[in-house]
Structures are given as structure tokens and as C-alpha cells.
């Protein structure tokens, strides 16, 4: 059995980089320009180093220039305009709500360039995209047909994933927290959408869910064309264990076992106990362990402390 520590996506920005972004972008900016590559790479190297030193084996680029949570991806897709601030799930963080006003089209790289820069520094990087959740957190003023909206998003993400793989990506994570709140019909559309994202691509696919237990996506999720299923074992510990017991899950699991939204550092024994509980149910050779969410909900120095404790507990 191999246990691989990984991260989910976001990472708090180093203080100097926060100040830098405030200076060049003001309080809120919608796209990415004006940021000097040198400054970005310096910040990126810092947070990759933090992850590496903590013991993380499969890293993420920390989404350092994302102007908000997942919905940031929409700012780089033609067809979206940004409107007022909206709360991101039950967090005290807000994103500019994207509005789809014309047919979606790929305008250029979404995250492929950021991935390339991270990959230059550290080879083991997991690229993070999304699809259904982006549609769900946006406002549709064009499609009037949700499936079309989702499928157009999926086609764009397929193009992006191809570019990512060209740039060296071997691991692709599709973040879908909204799926945990979705109905069965949306689940079926999302399954088709992920098939489209997957098309013609050689990579290991992760589907990440968080913020609550995964009851809403079982058993349908078992047929999704992904290799790894990410579950939140902080918010949905008992329920997710129960789901794993009830259904024979042949996919690998990415288990969110430490709380990415609380500065309280978990005890190593607690972490070990959680891991052992999961290992006792699944029969795969690999378990990915991670915080349950991205880490930008934490102050900078607490993020690495969290990761270090988690990694130390799996040795």
C-alpha cells in the first residue's frame, strides 16, 4: 500500500505577493495581465517549496493569481462577463458571479501556462480544472438549456486538458463541489461532460468533491470515467465511510483528512485513525491523502503546519 500526500488546489499567497497583487491590480481585477512573470515565478517557487518541504508528493500550483475561487476559470473563457460578489458556498469568501452572455469559446490558455511554469520547478504537479461547478455557480443568460451550457464548457475543458498534457501534465483534477448538491439529472449530464473532457487524453483523472459528504453522488459516481475519487472526510467522515462500505468502489480514493478551513492542527493519532479506517475498507494499492479543501482559507504559516502534520502522520 502506497500513501501519497497531495493538495487540493489553492494555497495562501505569501504576504509580499499579496501586497504586490494589490499594487498592480487594485482591490478586484478580472483577468490576468500586468503581473510580471518574474514576480509570479518567485511566489510560485515559494509555495511549491512549502508543499515539498512539508512532505507533499503530488503538488498543486496554489492558484496564486486566481482572482477568486473556482469561478476564476470563467474569466478566461470567451462568453462570460463578471457581475456582483456572491458568497462561495458557506465560506466567508466571495467571487464575482460569471454571467454567460454569449456562446462559450476558448480564448486561449486557461491554466496551461501556469501549469507549465509550476511544472518547470516541480515535476509532480496536479492540474486543477472544473466544469459542472462553473456552470452551477454562474448565471445563464444565453443557453436556456443547461446541458448545452455544460457540454460547451466540457469541450473547452477538453481542449485545455489537451494543452495541459502537451505541457507535461500527467494528473488532472476536476473540482466539482457543486455536484454534492446536484440532482440525478445533473449527475448524468456531468458524467457525459467528463467523458468529453477525457476524450483523446492520456492522463490520470481525479474528481474532487468537498464541503460536505458525498451521499448525493452515489452510486452514479462509480460509473464516472475518472481514476480517483476525492471525498471530504472532515465534513462527511462517518457518511463517506459508510458509502465506501456500502458500495464496492474500484476507483482509487483521494481522502481529505485534515481540515483546510480551520487553524486547529489535528493530532497525529486522529489522522492515523482516519487513514486506517479508510484503508480498512478500500482494496486499492494507493491512497491519496490531502486536506479536505484548498488551503487559501488559512493564514500562510498555518497552511504549511497543517500539511507537515498530515505528512508526518502517514510515514
Amino acid at each position: 500500500m502506497e500513501i501519497i500526500p497531495t493538495t487540493i488546489g489553492s494555497y495562501p499567497r505569501p504576504d509580499w505577493f499579496k501586497e504586490y497583487l494589490k499594487r498592480v491590480e487594485g482591490l478586484q481585477k478580472e483577468g490576468m495581465n500586468e503581473i510580471e512573470k518574474g514576480e509570479y515565478k518567485k511566489a510560485l517557487a515559494e509555495i511549491l517549496n512549502e508543499q515539498k518541504n512539508a512532505g507533499i508528493k503530488l503538488l498543486t500550483d496554489g492558484q496564486l493569481v486566481w482572482q477568486n475561487m473556482l469561478c476564476h476559470l470563467c474569466t478566461r473563457i470567451k462568453g462570460f462577463e463578471m457581475s456582483g460578489l456572491i458568497r462561495y458556498f458557506d465560506n466567508n469568501t466571495y467571487y464575482l458571479m460569471p454571467r454567460a452572455t454569449t456562446k462559450l469559446e476558448r480564448r486561449g490558455d486557461i491554466i496551461a501556462e501556469e501549469f507549465r511554469l509550476a511544472h518547470e520547478i516541480q515535476p509532480e504537479i496536479k492540474a486543477v480544472i472544473s466544469c459542472f461547478t462553473l456552470v452551477e455557480l454562474s448565471k445563464d443568460e444565453f443557453y436556456k438549456n443547461k446541458k448545452e451550457f455544460i457540454m460547451d464548457m466540457a469541450k473547452i475543458m477538453n481542449q485545455e486538458v489537451r494543452k495541459l498534457v502537451e505541457n507535461g501534465a500527467e494528473y488532472i483534477q476536476i473540482d466539482e463541489p457543486s455536484l454534492l448538491y446536484a440532482g440525478k439529472e445533473d449527475l448524468e449530464i456531468t458524467r457525459e461532460a467528463i467523458e468529453v473532457i477525457h476524450r483523446g487524453v492520456e492522463a490520470k483523472f481525479f474528481l474532487a468533491t468537498y464541503f460536505r459528504d458525498a451521499e448525493a453522488i452515489f452510486p452514479e459516481i462509480l460509473d464516472f470515467p475518472v481514476d480517483v475519487l476525492g471525498l471530504d472526510f472532515v465534513e462527511g467522515y462517518e457518511k463517506n465511510l459508510e458509502l465506501l462500505r456500502e458500495y464496492r468502489v474500484t476507483k482509487e480514493i483521494q481522502a481529505g483528512i485534515v481540515d483546510g478551513r480551520n487553524t486547529k492542527i489535528e493530532g497525529r493519532d486522529d489522522i492515523k485513525e482516519r487513514i486506517n479506517a479508510i484503508l480498512g475498507i478500500i482494496d486499492s494499492d494507493v491512497l491519496y491523502v490531502s486536506p479536505n479543501t484548498g488551503l487559501e482559507f488559512l493564514p500562510y504559516q498555518k497552511a504549511s503546519e497543517k500539511l507537515r502534520t498530515m505528512c508526518d502522520s502517514v510515514i
Binding site: K18, L27, N68, R87, D90, N92, T93, K264, P299, K302
Partner: protein
Amino acid sequence: MTRRLLPTTVVGSYPKPKWLNHLIGEYAKGKISDEIMEQAYQDSIKAVVKEHELAGVDILWDGEMRREEMTSYFAEHIDGFEIYGDVRVWGNNYYKKPAIVSRVGYRDELTIPEYSSLRTITTNEIKVPITGAYTIVDWSFNEFYPRKEDAVYALAEVINEDLRGLVKAGAGYIQIDDPAIPTHPDEIEIAKNSLEIATKGINAYLGIHICYGDYSKIYPEVLEFPVDQLDFELANKNFKDIEIFKEYEFTKDIGFGCLDVHTRRIESVEEIKTNIRKAFQLVEPEKIYVDPDCGLKLLPQGIAFEKLRNMCQAARELREELV
């Protein structure tokens, strides 16, 4: 308390003078003394009070010159909190998110020095805003208490102790700022209980300010809160929420947010009058307090002043029409 009809007031914050922000920065770097910083706070408050008086505001506050933010300002003065660093709220905006690391306890006076110092420089009535226990806990990390409500109730006791001192110091009008309440409608009982604790034995006119959020999820339950007045943001959502409030008899006084603080557009006196009249659909004019949607601190100072002045003028004209 007897008051003129449609008294005008503020929610709390006002734009800080540029020179004050500059000095706060210098003070953080250790470049100026405590004494000079204290003088700067006092002088800036005098400037803000004068502006409020010129604008015609009946019930004042000090513009929250000393408060950097509505959670960490209190957390820094209460035992049990630690602040590790910044956490993002939106875009490039961050706040010092406090963490509860041990049992919370009353240490420093929170609002009392602010009130006492303001009392010496204005004869107007004063409203004292304080962030509610529920919101402080919701916007903090909880490392210590097993359940969220345990933290909320313990903190409500701390707030209660400060309010007792505040009333003793002479304050007659207190506003509890609790914008986190509509974000977790399933926890409204916890919020209500926290207010019961915080306001226990407090003999003053009490309001609660709630902004953002979906009011349909907390109404009519908020009518059961132990306060005299409910203060809402209404202009920003173009007064649509009035329909929600109409479904049940509005049994409290209303703080009627009638200036949109998220736009730099200066609403005209006529427009504001039309908007204030919408409150008449809910309650008698005697039960209406006129104020902006929220604190004005994110607006340029000149625009904040013009908006306030028009709001006060609108209330005065309506008052004359009503008498």
C-alpha cells in the same frame, strides 16, 4: 425615549482621512509614538463628527476611526483569541481572521472608551455599534470550543459585560452588528440565544444591523430577537425585500437602509424621499429610523458626505410633510 420623527443615523464606519491612514501605516512601522497616534485618532473623530453634524445626522457615531475591521478589532481586545495572519475575503481583500485558542474572557473595555471620548465632543445623541458574538465566532477559526454554539455563548457573555459598562457610562442606544446571521439560517436559534445573553439586563434602546444575505431565510424569525429595532440594507437590492417583510406584521422599529453604499452615485433628495416612503408600507412613521445600507467607509469621503447630506435633507422634508 422620545425622538423627532424619522431620526437620521449612520450604521457605523466612515471613510478615514488620508492622513490618518498614512499615520496608521507609520505607527505600524514604529515610526510614531503612542501619544501622537492617540491624538491623531481623536482629531480624526472630531473631523468625522463635524461632517456628520454638517450633513445633519441626528444620531452619531465616531466613524470607527479606531477600528480597522469589525472582527479583529474586538478579538484583539478579548482573552482567548489569537491572530495568525490574513485570509482572503474577495479579490485582493484580506482580513485578519482571528482564532479562538482558549476560553474567551473579558479583558479590555471594548466600546466604552470610544463612547466616552465621543461624548465629550458632541451634544447629539450617540449610537454605539458592536459586532455580535455570533458574527465574531462565524468569522473566526474555532480551535477551542467543541461546538460552535459554545463559543458563541461564551463570547456573548463577554459582550454583555461590555454593554453593562457602556450603559453605566451613559450610552442609551446600542446597535449589534450581526451580518453573519442570514448566511446560516439553520443556526438562527444560536444567534437568537446569543442576543438574549448579550442583552441581558441592558437598559438601553437596542438595534441589530444585518446586511447582505437573503432576508427571506430569517424573516419572520428575527421578529423574536430581543431588540427594539431591526436595521436592514434595502437600497442595494432596490427595496425588493419589503415584499418579504410584508408577509408578517413588522412588529419592531425598522432601521431603513436607504442609501446604496456600493455605488458612488449620489442619490437625489427626491429619490431618497420616494424610497423612505416605502417604509410606510411596513410600519408607522414613528417606528422608522433613516440610515444608509451599511457603513460608508469604502466610499470616497466627499461622496459619503454628499450622500449623507441628501439623506438627512430628505428625512427633514418628509418630517415636515408628516407633521
